[in-house]
Amino acid sequence: MQHKITIDPITRLEGHGKIEIFLDEKGNVERAFLVVPELRGFEIFVKGKPAEDMPIITARICGVCPTAHHMASTKALDDLYKVQPPSPAKKLREMLYNMFMLEDHALHVYILGGPDFIVGPKAKKAERNVLGVIQKVGLEVGKKVISVRREIRELMTLLAGKVIHPAWGVPGGVTRGIKKEEVVNFIKVAEKGVEFALFTLKVFKDIVLSNKEYVDLILSDAYTHRTYYMGLVDENKKLNFYDGKIRVVDPEGKEYALFDVRNYREYIAEHVENWTYIKFPFLKKVGWKGFVDGKDSGIYSVAPLARLNACEGISTPRAQEAYEEFYKTLGGKPVHHTLANHWARVVEMIYAAERFLELAKDPEITSDNIRNIPTETPTVGIGVVEAPRGTLIHHYETDERGYITKANLIVATQNNSARISMSIDKAAKSLIKEGKYDEGILNMVEMAFRAYDPCHACGTHSLPGNIPVLINIRNKNGEIIKTIKNFE
């Protein structure tokens, strides 16, 4: 008898993603799928709009990572109008961007993904959330998370107009700089940010790494895929969120490609399925071989773990230390363990904070020289940043007056869609045997997708941060024969 298990964590009410697991006659998993039931059509409806409005419009793709879209879009405009921002403007943008990475990663570490580890994968579900985190690490820490995040978001508002959907980026620069009397605050908050990120690493070490059970879980086969990895690197092949070339390493960690985003179409193609609205990007030259890992399959991964695998180190000192420790502990590069994303995210928090501080202290940051006015005729513009959830590409074409004729976007979570699907499939297969499954699998399956911090924007709103999962097990007539859920 064919059983179908629907895991509907976030979809049925929000339309952002659900998991379908099909069991064979023996009750073993035949296949598990990630199904995304939504599409909004931005690439089409931006046609005919003035190019300079794109950073405002595309920020509305996601209210959780609007800064990432705003910035990828602004950089696409630089390219479109063939103009480079003056050095202070570039620094301002990069600073805002690192502020954003820091607050967004903090959210995931303490509220979304982190509770799995900080409180424990087997903790009571009522505790496996931000409240449980506070209980474990203390109210003081909870307050710290809220206040650091709030202070960063207030400064982002000051600089870029709005924190949800900035109004700031223009081709060749930005519309507002920082005044001398304002920068003091930026430095203060950045210093706090560095301290906070280092503290977060300590929390992670004390609670997760000192516990053998957790480490075994991270290393377990159920959460391991040998895929390609992609991320931006600077001219020294060091980690960078704001700018650089796209580097791809193969499952052995060897450089497979290093390319300018302008050539992304030579490297990236998107596979389509009938059962989901999301597309599955893959490495074009390797090819789509189905949902399988290994060197012969073009599936790649993005986001924190992928970024650390794809770079050759980090340019700020404390983050570099944390990076070295990460690989030493996990047995060298590349690391293929999906759950290591959580740790990689903490390493990235340190980098974001250190870079924020460097830039806040840079004398150029208060300069008035914040814009080079374009003079060239626009044609094609392609921009890239590393969103918290991975590589994000915006590509526009316009008529000679700068009205959009074509747009193509490769969005971060989409880059991970094939690997997420595989993770779910593998976790389900290793956990459900001969029709036996219990509530324990719920969190295990959750963990398989949560590690990627997928932008089912809902994630961010999870206060308290446990994503509710409902599994309906149906017989082949579609009747529910059993329901398991992790919420009351």
Partner: protein, 328 residues
């Protein structure tokens, strides 16, 4: 309040910014929790559809809906929540007037699906697959919702009691709105909650530099010009929509030296925001010569639709239709 009121917060075709706006309430949300019991808050709470179905009609005191309606699943949920709620509120620009995703109404479903799954630059689809509702492949049967031919504001699907404007509403606006709801006297049905009834200019720090009468010889675009700081953007020639936009945000964009794009929507008694904005922009053009006027528009406002209907196309007079049963 002796017994806690039931409250729901639900999102349709949303970017998540409205949810983030709610989360940005931070400790203020605790005051809400004191008075209200959330019966539906995706992710944080028990959000089973069946649970909502099991409630009595009008058992929920207030439901906030953000995001526009684009799929069959969203339509069903909005209808269900309407039935179960005494008060239903459209939260944010998408729910109120269709929002940015509403710009898609100029394009057909086929154009969108065709680009995404067939003709897009990076699509590789030799087998010509495309997302298919009720799809069956061998042993596997999938359900995905229907993608409608257009985007609807929430009041084009069900009756709405109040509106909270903004994309996203700011923390202060959300707080004001919630205070109004829990005050002893409910505002009149159809009211806007939380924001101002005066135009944005009234709260803009640059208003002092704005003269009584404005004349514009040329509209500017920010692509190849940089606004001067500390001077009303409109008199510089930027189509800042502050004069026709509801206040409440405290001129956030203008403070970053960026013209207001109108996310707080129309002032009271204005039915069509875009029509109002266009006629306002036309009224400040400093010319009586038809040819010259044409040139001024062509050079600075050549796609006025994109500018004035950024957040409200589904509610424009040309598009304002109610949802047909099961989408359009």
């Amino acid at each position: 309040m002796a017994e806690k009121s039931k409250v729901a917060f639900y999102w349709c075709a949303s970017c998540g910014g409205c949810e983030e706006a709610m989360v940005d309430l931070a400790e203020d949300i605790l005051q809400v929790v004191e008075k209200a019991e959330f019966v539906l808050w995706p992710v944080a709470m028990d959000f089973k559809r069946e649970d909502v179905e099991n409630l009595k009609d009008e058992e929920i005191l207030v439901t906030f809906i953000n995001g526009a309606v684009r799929t069959s699943e969203q339509e069903e949920m909005v209808r269900l929540l309407r039935k179960k709620s005494k008060i239903l509120i459209a939260f944010g620009a998408c729910a109120y007037t269709g929002g940015v995703p509403g710009l898609a109404n100029c394009y057909s479903r086929e154009e969108i699906l065709n680009f995404y799954y067939k003709s897009g630059d990076t699509v590789f689809n030799p087998e010509d697959k495309k997302p298919t509702p009720h799809f069956i492949e061998g042993n596997f049967a999938f359900e995905i919702p229907e993608f409608y031919g257009r985007v609807y504001a929430v009041d084009q699907v069900v009756d709405v009691d109040y509106y909270i404007p903004g994309c996203a509403p700011t923390r202060k606006v959300v707080k004001n709105a919630i205070d109004a709801l829990f005050s002893s006297q409910l505002p009149q049905k159809g009211s806007i909650l939380g924001a101002s009834s005066k135009s944005l200019c009234n709260e803009c720090p640059l208003n002092e530099t704005k003269p009584e009468k404005i004349y514009v010889k040329k509209f500017k675009r920010v692509d190849k010009t940089q606004p001067e700081p500390d001077k009303c953007l409109l008199i510089q020639g930027y189509p800042c929509l502050g004069p026709v936009t509801r206040g409440g945000c405290e001129a956030l964009c203008v403070k970053a030296n960026y013209p207001c794009t109108g996310c707080f929507g129309p002032l009271d008694d204005v039915k069509d925001y875009g029509a109002k904005a266009v006629s306002f922009l036309a009224s400040i053009i400093d010319s009586n010569d038809e040819k010259e006027i044409e040139k001024i528009i062509d050079e600075g406002l050549s796609n006025p639709l994109a500018i004035v209907y950024r957040y409200s196309l589904p509610k424009s007079l040309i598009f304002d239709t109610k949802i047909k049963k099961n989408g359009g």
